[in-house]
Symmetry: C2
Subunit: 417 residues, 2 copies
């Protein structure tokens, strides 16, 4: 079964807002074993919408359309749908009743003549109920293709998709293919290394595909198995999953979709250690990420952002002669910061970073991207120099990731670096 999606909106095609509906629809369909083949976006322009509908209608069995059903003049999907499929656009009494009912519920909208625009539906269509908004959706058949029209508001669309569109599609799937996927999140190696290490695992001829997706600075490996029956799919996925785990074990931080932050939080919650942070070049980014997670106050005692030397001395007890002789960006300073914040806060772990995020401030010996990370713990203190590359933002992000990965490794009782 060929499925396409079409997003309609000037604000989308002009890049003013990012289209999230296309991705949402694709991932929800995928959990039902349905795959989107192509996605198209056009603006609020009648000829473009008509062309898109005709084209997708020819190439697809199902066309899922979002956007352009609003009350304002620039929303013209219904009219374009009627014209593209040779229908008339008429007031639909059920849709009109719905607009009035929802408007009254929302209290903020006055039922003015304008709203009747949302009750104009192409003939020979059936309505798709929208429990959360005034715009009814509708579906129609054209040249052997089913077309579903929904509003672009993500929360309204999602309910309509789940409650009406997917059940309708699933009833019409004749030979159901089972699709399941497994995603493993990893941090450390680069894309080319991962690709080399995982060579030979994908077996497209058996229905086992593998995707490697880089979301700086981490990588997601997705295995997707597709077959006629669930047992084959499970076998394919289990054996491929084991191979990936074997080859990349130490880099994998999650197989549940959890990010690095959640993973580290989970490990802290499972133990009884507390943490304090001393950040220089990351400027609060690590503390921000630790405290992104609800309940982090149970293990995160405090953080200090010590940009200047005065703060490093006063808050962390870094000796001034150390700063004079070794500099603030040095292995010695990083260790002193980690030990200092651990002692001051009375925490089990003290994590410190100091470095040059750039673009300025680098020297020949310590160019921008030079970063020292140090972890002080009851059983020792580890410090390491890194040379990162990229923009200021990238250096800060990868520094925070590396520091969080150190926490993960320490909490898993693995070698830190």
């Amino acid at each position: 079964m060929k499925i396409s999606t079409l997003s309609i909106g000037d604000e989308l095609i002009c890049g003013q807002i990012t289209d999230t509906n296309a991705g949402t629809i694709a991932s929800v369909l995928l959990t039902e074993g349905l795959r989107v083949q192509r996605h198209l976006t056009v603006g609020d322009n009648e000829p473009d919408i008509m062309d898109a509908l005709n084209e997708l209608g020819r190439s697809s069995d199902m066309v899922i359309v979002t956007g352009g059903l609003g009350p304002t003049a620039d929303d013209m999907t219904s009219r374009a749908a009627a014209r593209a499929t040779g229908r008339r656009l008429v007031i639909n009494e059920d849709a009109r009743a719905h607009v009035r009912l929802i408007s009254a519920k929302l209290e903020s909208l006055i039922v003015c003549p304008l709203s009747d625009k949302q009750a104009m539906i192409p003939t020979k269509s059936s309505l798709i109920p929208n429990p959360n908004g005034t715009a009814c959706g509708f579906q129609l058949m054209h040249n052997g293709s089913f077309m579903f029209f929904m509003p672009g508001v993500p929360s309204e669309m999602l309910v309509m998709l789940r409650e009406s569109v997917i059940p309708f599609i699933l009833e019409r799937v004749t030979r159901k293919r089972v699709i399941r996927s497994l995603s493993l999140n990893l941090f450390g190696p680069c894309e080319a290394e991962v690709d080399e290490l995982l060579a030979g695992i994908a077996r497209p001829e058996l229905g086992l595909n593998m995707g490697i997706c880089v979301t700086y600075p981490w990588i997601r490996v997705t295995l997707r198995a597709e077959a006629d029956n669930p047992d084959t799919v499970s076998e394919l996925l289990d054996s491929a999953g084991s191979l990936v785990r074997e080859r990349l074990s130490e880099y994998i931080f999650s197989d549940s979709g959890a990010g690095m932050d959640e993973t580290v939080a989970e490990l802290f919650r499972g133990g009884c250690l507390t943490l304090a942070l001393a950040e220089s070049c990351t400027g609060g980014l690590i503390a921000k990420r630790i405290t992104d997670i609800p309940g982090s106050s149970a293990y995160f005692l405090e953080g200090v952002v010590t940009y200047g030397n005065a703060a490093k001395m006063r808050l962390l007890g870094v000796p001034s002669d150390l700063l004079d002789t070794k500099g603030a960006v040095s292995s010695e300073c990083a260790s002193a910061m980690a030990k200092g914040v651990r002692a001051a806060a009375g925490s089990d772990l003290g994590l410190a970073v100091t470095g040059i995020a750039g673009p300025d401030g680098g020297t020949e010996e310590k160019p921008a991207g030079t970063v020292f990370i140090s972890l002080a713990a009851p059983d020792g203190c580890w410090t390491k120099r890194f040379q990162f590359h990229g923009s200021r933002d990238e250096v800060r992000v990868i520094t925070a990731w590396t520091a969080l990965d150190w926490l993960r490794r320490y909490l898993l009782q693995r070698a830190v670096n």
Copy 2:
């Protein structure tokens, strides 16, 4: 001139990651007076890519393609481009030299045979230089349509688009319509208020359109004027811009595209005041945003993330009886934190936030979303209670925004709240 974009990637068509390239390309082109007519997304699948190229080639003068140029086996854009346009795929020596040069620079990649895949380019194409990554882009002409192929990594793509693709397209634009836009970034009022305040400014019949785009928690108002000559466009834009400024003046933080962080940084750079931060519920987010900006060390002395009461007492000198009687989430505590961090750091300004980000930790009197912000300055100390709504993340984000907006207002010598 008809321009289309094509994004290629399984992770995009499956909804695993959201496509931001399409929007970036559209908005960058728009600033040059060029409009994207349609956007298409397909997966890493040779027949689908070939169909898409053929189809867009027929309907467009320019096709801008991103994605699928990586070193791994699932990247197959180059091969599909060669087959769709009847070319051979051969090693391009310039591209090979480029891969090696960049790999050597990055130091993290080993130049292994794998990398040569990125040097395989369709014949009769010219390379598009990629200063930031191993994947060269390329451009070719097919059936009267120019096609540009770039990697999907947003930072690499953007440079290539700006430096190579857009100049090439602009040279070929025959009858130029002048399109110019003006964006005003504002923080404070909600969308409905903005919409009401700006009623009547848009004049689509004269070629003056207005878009209101909400990017939580701030709003961008974009005026776009289109006409045959630059003078008309300037007149339209100037008079509409003045009206917007008049009606929304105090909320507008930027008309240059700068974000709140840059705006505040610019004001600090223009003065000689220094800043210290004490954060509780934002957990380092404000410090992170202040230090996102290069050169912030000139005015940002230090930040402390005082999650626990012990840290509030030790680092900020908040009296323990104040914490006992008023609580950590109180106006008194916020003021004490702001004054405390100002005194400890010896800064001109001390900014503090304390609150309940949620989802847990709220009480009837102080539900989740209760936040106190305090600013201590040489000429006074201002503290205010806010009741924010939304998820933990939203409460933290809007707290940080409000705190930064207080700094902006103070530095502009306006009333803080």
